[in-house]
């Protein structure tokens, strides 16, 4: 496995992880694209060193690069493309409903937590976001 690829994968995954922890869905979407690219690159580099185009009439089997991870990557790319679009639609809908695209806390959970703190003198701040 070549070092440049390893560093690239590590970089993509760390930037992706940072972005995914954000509150705003648009940042999360960017984070997912990064993570997805990182995962696809990892999959490609798992297939061994690069070689000739894996087509039967163009190169001999010994010098071909491994086609299986390429096929797997292609599937993964298509899936993550579709899901990115779905997430964008979700962000748009959230924007239309509430004016922002923040991922909010579980309301019911907050209500139950408030019940538990009913006797405490300081009310728990209801809206952290």
């Amino acid at each position: 496995m070549n070092a440049t690829l390893v560093v690239t994968v590590a970089g993509l995954v760390s930037v992706g992880t940072y972005l995914v922890t954000a509150r705003s869905l648009s940042r999360i979407i960017l984070g997912f694209s990064m993570l997805g690219h990182g995962a696809v690159l990892a999959l490609l580099s798992a297939g061994g060193p690069a070689g000739e185009t894996p087509l039967a009439d163009r190169s001999s089997p010994e010098e071909m690069s491994n086609p299986l991870p390429q096929a797997l990557s292609l599937t993964a790319i298509v899936i993550s493309f579709g899901l990115t679009l779905f997430l964008l639609a979700l962000a748009r809908r959230q924007n239309a409903l509430s004016g922002d695209d923040l991922v909010e806390d579980d309301l019911e959970d907050r209500r139950v937590a408030l019940l538990a703190n009913e006797e405490s003198p300081e009310p728990v701040s209801e809206d952290a976001a």
């Binding site: 999959l43 809908r93 579980d106």
Partner: protein
């Protein structure tokens, strides 16, 4: 017989396309869906009979060698879970057709095709013989579930849907990275070849891969501490959809976990799984006790019950894994029917909040009975199916001398009973709480009650046939832990 295995995956997909074309012709569309689901269920039963009689069925898709191509494998474990899963989807669809005639249901133009895609994904996840196809099957299930959860576009659904989608996407990305790791370490994604090669890796790599997939499948299965997305998102969806999710999605996670961990011989991770199992049981049931809405209580119970299946896996003994399989088989219909009852309450009373309903036992004794049977079964009281499954698990834990987990499991059961009593007191007992705002249900209620009754009958059947089911679970567990039958069936 191999065609039947392939058809159980392809059939629902073709039907999904057909129902998209039949949007305007409702009766014809319902007929197509029911025929498909009945057909798939029948196919699953046929597969189970064939597997019982003459062993594992292997399909090499396109005739490719297992090292390169996709294989579908129906062994005892797969066939057993397939039958229960398909029958459950069928019952929920009957319920949904009933509900569709009332106004409260989800938009059938969206739900019908997407549910069929989900069915296909579930079938594929169960019978697939390679890790990457399992990833694709998970994506099919998840994409369908994202749409089902959020398609009505209500505020609460979008809010909890965002958490659900983000967490599951993260788990999927981890899955993909895991596939890359496995491929780098072994040069294959075929599960039978992995079963040969992963145990030969050095300890560090092997445990690393095992832990990685424990996290991946654990978050799909809502294992502690990866469960927080579940109780938030499930109750917001329409009932029929929550019922399918509750019965199937997390269980497919557990199924894949059992499949992967036994096939790659991750005995060393047993104690980790056991600790996770104990925490899942207790935290889930404690969460349920804190809630006061029927659907939310039941959602927390999904988490808690996952713990029992993990307990069986964590023991890594034949009795333990067989117990986990039997528990899985009992849990799918029980969980589904509890949500269907929740749906009946909600569609006749407009709410499932415990404070705003009451006294249903007097007004509608049939519904009370339909709730009582699966609720007692969930808590593990004899003579219901939950008792048989829990007895098997606890027996296995005692045999493996894991006293701590036995105590935790029994405490969990007691608390389950307690929170079921809470629903019973709030919804069915006592004085009828005011005049409920009843939305009109017209003639559809009969179909919904029929579907729920069918599902209750299913859970009772699990109890009545627990003898043969136990034999099949045990045979499945022996095959899983031995690993050789699977490897030989696929490679030779």
């Amino acid at each position: 017989m191999s065609t039947v295995v392939a058809l159980s995956v392809v059939g629902p997909l073709l039907a999904a396309a057909l129902t998209l074309a039949l949007r305007a012709r409702h009766r014809l569309r319902d007929a197509v869906v029911l025929t498909t689901l009945v057909g798939v269920t029948a196919a699953a039963v046929a597969i189970l009979i064939e597997v019982e009689r003459s062993g594992t069925i292997v399909v090499r898709v396109g005739g490719w060698d297992p090292e390169l191509g996709i294989v579908l494998v129906a062994d005892m474990f797969a066939a057993l879970v397939l039958v229960v899963a398909m029958a459950t989807i069928l019952v929920v669809e009957i319920f949904a057709i009933g509900q569709r005639r009332s106004a409260a249901g989800a938009d059938p133009d969206v739900v019908v095709p997407v549910l069929l895609v989900l069915t296909s994904g579930v079938a594929l996840a169960i019978v697939t013989g390679d890790l990457f196809t399992l990833f694709v099957a998970f994506e099919m299930i998840l994409v369908a579930s994202y749409v089902l959860l959020t398609h009505q576009g209500r505020q609460g659904q979008i809010r909890s849907g965002m958490t659900y989608v983000v967490i599951n996407l993260l788990a999927s990305t981890f899955f993909l990275l895991g596939v890359a790791f496995v491929y780098a370490a072994t040069g294959t994604v075929n599960m039978a070849l992995l079963a040969e090669r992963i145990p030969e890796l050095d300890t560090g790599t092997r445990i690393g891969i095992g832990t990685w997939f424990l996290v991946v499948f654990g978050s799909k299965a809502a294992m502690f501490p990866l469960f927080s997305w579940l109780p938030d998102s499930y109750p917001t969806a329409p009932t029929t959809i929550t019922a399918v999710f509750a019965g199937l999605l997390t269980k497919i996670g557990v199924y894949s976990l059992i499949r992967f961990q036994t096939l790659t011989d991750m005995v060393d991770l047993g104690p980790v799984v056991l600790a996770g199992a104990g925490a899942t049981m207790l935290v889930g049931v404690a969460g349920a006790l804190a809630q006061d809405d029927m659907k939310r209580i039941l959602s927390f119970h999904i988490v808690s019950q996952i713990g029992y299946m993990l307990l069986g896996l964590g023991l890594f003994s034949v009795a333990g894994v067989a117990g986990a399989i039997l528990f899985l088989v009992h849990q799918i219909p029980v969980k589904t029917v509890l949500f269907l009852v929740g749906g009946l309450v909600e569609s006749t009373h407009g709410t499932s909040s415990l404070d705003r309903i009451g006294g249903l036992a007097m007004r509608w004794p049939l519904l009370a009975a339909l709730f009582a049977v699966p609720a007692l079964s969930l808590a593990g009281l004899p003579p219901f199916s939950g008792f048989v499954a829990k007895l098997a698990l606890i027996d296995a834990a005692i045999a493996s001398k894991s006293t701590a987990i036995v105590i935790v499991a029994l405490a969990g059961s007691l608390l389950t009973l307690l929170s079921m009593t809470k629903i019973w007191l709030g919804v069915f007992w006592g004085e009828p709480a005011g005049a409920p705002a009843v939305p009109s249900v017209r003639g559809s209620l009969g179909t919904m009650v029929l579907a729920t009754t069918l599902a209750v009958a299913g859970t009772l059947a699990v109890a009545v046939f627990s003898g043969p089911l136990w034999d099949m679970s045990e045979r499945a567990a022996v095959e899983l832990l031995d690993r050789q039958p699977y490897i030989e069936a696929v490679i030779r």
